[in-house]
Assembly symmetry: C3
Homo-oligomer: 134 residues x 3
């Protein structure tokens, strides 16, 4: 186990509303860059008209594609963190989507096109200290 104390309290909080046609990963990345967010945690609900999901393959250390029919889905939960690696934003997000009949699928979000809206509660956390093993 490692932990990073992120400091006391939160810094800025936003509702970020992605709109029809916005791509989720790109939207969150560009938002983090523009607002100079260093570390953030987020949760979101809304809908997507298209999504690409991955399943982390422990052997290849890459993502296998998750088969998902192209259709409008509810975003039942989307959560993750944004960090920066050498100046580049890294959005790490897992999603559960719901279909018209209530069935669900999920995975690591690779790409999602918003329809009609995605409402993201994004909390900026104080700059992470160096991790330490605990």
């Amino acid at each position: 186990m490692q932990s990073r104390l992120l400091g006391e309290g939160l810094l800025r909080s936003w509702f970020v509303t992605l709109e029809p046609g916005d791509e989720v990963m790109e939207g969150l990345s560009s938002f983090a860059v523009r607002e100079s967010i260093d570390v953030a945690s987020f949760t979101a609900i809304g809908g997507l008209e298209a999504a690409s999901l991955g399943f982390y393959n422990v052997q290849t250390k890459g993502f296998d594609d998750v088969k998902l029919d192209p259709e409008q889905v509810e975003v039942l939960s989307l959560m993750g963190e944004i960090t920066f690696d050498e100046g580049n934003p890294w959005v790490h997000a897992h999603v559960v989507v719901g279909r018209r009949n209530g069935t669900t699928s999920g995975g690591h979000l690779l790409r999602g096109i918003v329809q009609p809206i995605l409402i993201v509660t994004l909390n900026e956390l104080p700059h992470a200290l160096e991790p330490h093993h605990v």
Copy 2:
């Protein structure tokens, strides 16, 4: 994409515990009114003895009913926001529920009757500034 800077830090935080027979949407709405909460974000886990779920229909801009057998379910995740529109609370919540055999369903929560408990972590956010397109 739009964003609303919700200010720095959070205001008040609560554990709101809904009890057997409480209806979720009504409970959260009345709580927000009573505590004069303007904007809040929440996550919750617990259980429901009955739930009505919807699927947003992009064409009709209404909710289609999601068929869900009436049975006790776990609330595996419930998340969303509370905002006010002309003085009326608007609770926007998506849920993933789990059955006895571990299978899941989900959708936009229209109505849920708590059994035996629903524990809501509710964070009041500073008053939203006007949204701006980004």
Copy 3:
């Protein structure tokens, strides 16, 4: 409905990163004890190589086992709270897991072995006041 006002603002926030082989419930419990966290709320995403899930049985007030094939799964959402009862940490967590084909299952997390990582955003909340019925 009961609520506990948890005070204004948050106290400390962490990213707690659980590593391969770490057990989730034990990891979060020991972390809470070591950091003298009294009340906390958390969300997490990552992966598990093994998990035991329960379904709360309203009649027996215990957990029925949820059948889950032993396999690597994504943690699509893990959320809950940590409280203390007479000095003992109580981690209450519900999880939705995803399989290689995108299907999902979920329940009350009884035990989970991390692989390759579980990233937990953990927010310490001010000491809970006595609950009051509302």
